[in-house]
């Protein structure tokens, strides 16, 4: 996969910079001084703003601006219009479809698939991992072994196989990608729960006779969730890339619903004559993923989540 699951080894600033920096020799932090703080701030609001604009454009603009041409019902009479043509801001593709409206529609597909598969992974995978780690014993071993096996599959291959056997639709693409997001989140949640399980307040709650469900809901989940949420930004980026790859290969959403991957795939044939057909959707894809990744990294650095 081009978009790797995020590396877990970036330097984090220490938890408490004020705590006696001279103890056992100076232990400086990854980055220093005011510059670091300013940069973390920038890392949050710049990609955040861009993402907000993308979401607004994809979901709100079509509602407000009713005259947007249909993404699929183009006329061949208007094929291959150059950018800045009247009525077609970025021109039209070889079938006469308006590129702007295809971009917006494609962005909606990408975001919907990314967010939904992420939500499924977060909910199902997260609770699975938390429950397995909390219960421990054979239940944990069996669950984790099964998930290991799922992870042993190259993700794209797995998604390909699943989505081929299900009929092509957005919902099935979502399920296919969730197949991969569930074990990822389950692993993460398990690791976090294992750390928490031995914390004094959890042990104390157990000794005080609290029910398992109460401990899970009240003590474990609120602490595991922020970590999973931070990670899910990075996962949404990965899911969007997987969706684009699927659509690029022709196994994604059906042809009636344009998506960025499909636009890139169709534009490939015209790469020497009209490279913008490839470059424009590529740029959108890239921008969305880079913002999600930057935001996820910045958030991770700020919260100190692993």
């Amino acid at each position: 996969m081009a978009v790797q699951p995020p590396d877990l080894a970036t330097v984090r600033p220490g938890a408490d910079p004020a705590a006696d920096p001279l103890d056992a020799g100076p232990r400086p932090r990854g980055r220093t001084g005011r510059r670091a703080r300013r940069r973390t701030g920038k890392g949050l609001w710049i990609p955040g703003t861009i993402l907000g604009l993308i979401v607004l454009a994809c979901f709100v603009w079509p509602l407000v601006y009713r005259d947007l041409p249909s993404p699929t019902a183009g006329s061949l009479l208007q094929a291959n219009l150059p950018p800045f043509s009247p009525g077609h801001l970025l021109g039209t593709d070889p079938l006469g479809n308006d590129i702007v409206s295809r971009l917006l529609h494609g962005g909606r597909v990408s975001l919907e698939v990314g967010l939904t598969s992420n939500a499924i992974g977060l909910l199902l995978g997260g609770s699975l991992g938390m429950f397995a780690a909390f219960r421990g014993g054979w239940l944990e071993t069996v669950t984790m072994r099964l998930l290991d096996m799922l992870i042993a599959f190259p993700s794209l291959v797995l998604v390909l196989v699943v989505s081929t056997y299900l009929t092509p639709s957005k919902l099935n693409v979502i399920w296919a990608i969730s197949f991969f997001s569930i074990p990822t989140f389950a692993r993460l949640a398990r690791a976090a729960t294992l750390r928490l399980r031995e914390q004094v307040y959890v042990v104390a709650a157990r000794l005080a006779g609290a029910r398992d469900s109460a401990i899970l809901l009240r003590h474990i989940a609120p602490n595991v969730l922020p970590q999973l949420l931070t990670y899910s930004l990075l996962w949404v980026a990965a899911a969007i890339a997987i969706e684009a790859s699927l659509s690029f290969l022709g196994f994604g959403v059906p042809a009636s619903e344009p998506s960025w991957g499909m636009m890139i795939s169709r534009g490939q044939a015209y790469i020497s004559s009209n490279p913008e057909l490839v470059l424009i959707p590529s740029a959108c894809l890239f921008l969305t993923i880079v913002c999600l990744n930057t935001l996820g990294d910045a958030l991770r650095a700020r919260t100190g989540a692993p």
Binding site: A2, V11, A152, F153, L249, V290
Partner: protein, 349 residues
């Protein structure tokens, strides 16, 4: 330095604390113990991978024969194909039959042209392997020096440039990057072919010319990740580890401290990532092989899926899963061979 990583076993040095004596193979040396344990752990995972594949291919809703023949097939055609695919047998029986055959090296025949699947695999595997190995070599060759230079001055010019590039690189899906490469080198500069495969038998030069763009397309994302991981690990060591201070206090030059002390220890974490990805990479070749028209495993898998050629798809998926498991196994073993702490067993201090 040269003699430290490649030491042959059985010299006079022994672990400070010996493991308690017990009979059998498991007590040879820590490295052998680790190796045996890992191999034993890998077996059920491979088995599970085959089982999950089989489940996926057979338990998904709908009759496979109908899916193969299309909705307008006659009931006779469906029945004939079902018989040929053994679809009438219970699921477990079919799985055991397939497993038995697979263990004897028979993965079935293609539904398309009745060719043995092993023969198809034999043609496709070398192409994919060459692609992946080339991509790894390229990525590592560039990533290690980049990471060292970036880590020399964290926050400095080289570091910031390197980190920006790698953040961008990690955000470009590899088919997008491949298209940009094609646009620049094949369409724009016309120095390299956009598609096509030249077998290595027709000369290494032409072969590499055909492979270099797809390999670069895969290598770029790897390069970005390795650079980030390696740089973070080195920087972390330089800040935190006392042995780095010791080396500095000896009067060792700063580059030498980076390379001899920090990089050396970072190699172990890098190794883990490389190993974990080697298997996954076999999967990511699917899209690149398709784009550049390389007759590798990825292309074969896609053709199999398009033709609804169940035995072929099944075989490809199982082989890819085995690659992932195998790569993890080899990583673990290499770790045991290379890392002296595991090789000699940890002291019980």
């Amino acid at each position: 330095m040269s003699d430290t990583l490649t030491r042959s076993p059985g010299r006079s040095d022994r672990p400070a604390v010996r493991p308690p004596r017990a009979a059998g193979l498991l007590n040879r040396s820590p490295a052998v113990r680790v190796a045996i344990k890992r191999v034993l752990q890998a077996v059920p995972v491979v088995w599970g991978a085959t089982f999950i594949t089989f489940c996926l291919m057979n338990l998904l809703p709908g009759n496979a024969a109908v899916a193969l023949l299309g909705d307008d097939a006659t009931p006779e055609q469906v029945a004939a194909l079902s018989a040929r695919l053994n679809l009438d047998e219970p699921f477990l029986v079919r799985y055991l039959q397939w497993l038995g055959n697979a263990l004897t090296g028979d993965l079935g025949n293609s539904l398309q042209n009745n060719e043995p699947v092993t023969a198809i695999l034999g043609r496709a595997l070398p192409v994919s392997l060459e692609l992946v190995v080339l991509a790894f070599a390229l990525a590592l060759l560039v990533a290690v020096p980049t990471a060292v230079v970036a880590a020399k001055r964290p926050g400095g010019f080289a570091d910031r440039i390197g980190m920006q590039i790698s953040m961008f690189g990690l955000s470009v899906p590899n088919f997008v990057f491949a298209l940009v490469l094609v646009l620049v080198f094949a369409v724009g500069l016309r120095v390299l072919p956009a598609v096509g495969y030249v077998p290595i038998g027709q000369g290494l030069g032409p072969n590499l010319r055909a492979m270099i763009l797809p390999a670069t397309a895969i290598a770029f994302a790897l390069f970005c990740e390795y650079t980030r991981v390696l740089r973070a690990d080195i920087v972390d060591q330089m800040l935190r580890e006392d042995y780095i201070t010791t080396a500095r206090a000896k009067g060792v030059g700063s580059w030498q401290v980076l390379v001899r002390h920090a990089l050396r220890n970072s190699v172990f974490s890098l190794l883990t990532i490389v190993g974990l990805q080697f298997g996954a990479l076999i999967g990511s070749t699917v899209i690149i092989e398709q784009m550049f028209g390389l007759p590798g495993m990825g292309q074969g898998l896609l053709q199999g899926i398009n033709n609804r050629d169940i035995p072929v798809v099944q075989a490809y998926v199982v082989v890819m899963a085995c690659f992932v498991v195998g790569a993890n196994l080899v990583t673990d073993l290499l770790y045991a061979v290379l890392d002296p702490r595991i090789r000699h067993g940890r002291p019980a201090a």
